[in-house]
Symmetry: C2
Subunit: 247 residues, 2 copies
């Protein structure tokens, strides 16, 4: 546990002109050209909606930088985030014309889009792309199941600690400092978006952040900048098995 091993995802792939490691890591020659031909970039400002649930969606995409959220909203306004997309994550579902969830940019965001129909054609012909996509989908399913445990059974404090540790583990930009392995990063979400992620209200999020701060588990520099002096101490607050889980 002392020498924690973290797998930082790489948003860019230096050999790949598409800069989209997730899909094209093993593409070569003709396949790359095909992907190049159907790709284009799109930029969104923080807070902008990319698609609404039910909208026609004529592309699939990969996050280049920034953060996007999938959310569901009930008729009376109750909202639940159901997906958080960080750089290199995949957005959209092949063989589905309409979006199932609202997608919004929670920070400034760049997407690398592929037109859906030709992308699907490529999928049919290129086995390793669909294998990769299956792998990614299975990983997302595992993440969703962890998230379900969080939503169903964890306390507010455990939810906050778990959320912070998830961000730390997934965000490639987080710097690992020398002294004592303290971690520092900016939250990519408002308190309200965190509440939607965790199934809480924004007031409870704020209170629990203050409480973790008071207890020295985190430091807050400004509203968004977090310093974690001792990652193990944070993990201890998550309620998860202490031994790092999967072996």
């Amino acid at each position: 546990m002392a020498q924690r091993q973290m797998a930082f995802p790489q948003a860019d792939c230096s050999e790949c002109p598409i800069r989209y490691r997730a899909v094209c890591a093993h593409c070569e020659g003709d396949e790359l050209n095909q992907l190049e031909a159907i790709k284009y970039y799109r930029n969104y400002a923080a807070g902008q909606t990319i698609v609404w649930a039910g909208d026609r969606m004529d592309f699939v995409a990969s996050v280049v930088h920034g953060v996007a959220a999938l959310t569901q909203t009930m008729e009376d306004g109750r909202r639940q985030m159901v997906g958080l997309l960080l750089p290199s994550d995949f957005l959209g579902r092949p063989n589905r014309e309409h979006a199932t969830f609202d997608v919004t940019a929670t920070t400034d965001l760049q997407l690398c889009c592929f037109r859906r129909q030709p992308f699907q054609d490529l999928l049919s012909n290129t086995h390793h792309v669909s294998k990769r996509l299956l792998e990614m989908t299975l990983d997302e399913l595992d993440a969703a199941r962890e998230w379900m445990l969080l939503l169903g059974r964890k306390t507010a404090r455990e939810k906050i600690a778990s959320f912070l540790s998830i961000i730390v583990r997934r965000d490639a930009t987080i710097q690992q400092f020398a002294k004592g392995g303290a971690l520092a990063f900016d939250l990519p979400l408002t308190r309200e978006a965190m509440a939607d992620y965790l199934g809480l209200t924004l007031e409870t999020v704020s209170r629990q952040m203050s409480s973790l701060k008071k207890d020295g588990v985190i430091r807050l520099e400004g509203k968004r900048h977090i310093v974690i002096p001792d990652f193990d101490a944070l993990m201890h607050e998550t309620g998860d098995d202490s031994d790092g889980g999967v072996y």
Copy 2:
């Protein structure tokens, strides 16, 4: 809404000797022989554990009949169900040696198992099997996200109503009666397992079932047999959009 269309999954595939529609629906000749060669059946009694999280798992499987549950348990005993497998559902993850979650039979259960390594080999060579598996995994991910909304934002009453409607929609054995379209079925889960599914305690499950009964939304014949006189009335209790959702 009056003439509700339900897609009942078919557990058996009459043309398919493997009786496993989900995977082999479009397999022919040699592929079928390959699947036949690596398949075997296993039976479990209600309550039995199939694998523990972390156990080595040398097979993948399809549910032939009965119901299985994937659950996660925290150190202090809090439990959350994260998957519910009905007939024709798929169990196990290709390219993963060890189970991530506990798997238990919640009713008497028969699995059609395939040895994992040769199944993976088949996946690599047979495009339509891996395409089918991707499709199934994406469906499961969508289901998991609905489930997250339920866990994070719904009230106890809405959770129970949603659970019942999910069972009705997914269970192929449910009889549709002539008069008024009333539905009747046996719950495949104990109150405790329902609580684990919904992120509640078993007492709250029991109380809300009684409440729905008192209000005439459901009838309870014995502990487990449910009659739903008016499916729309039940749907109205779920908190979901009334118009059936996806279009």
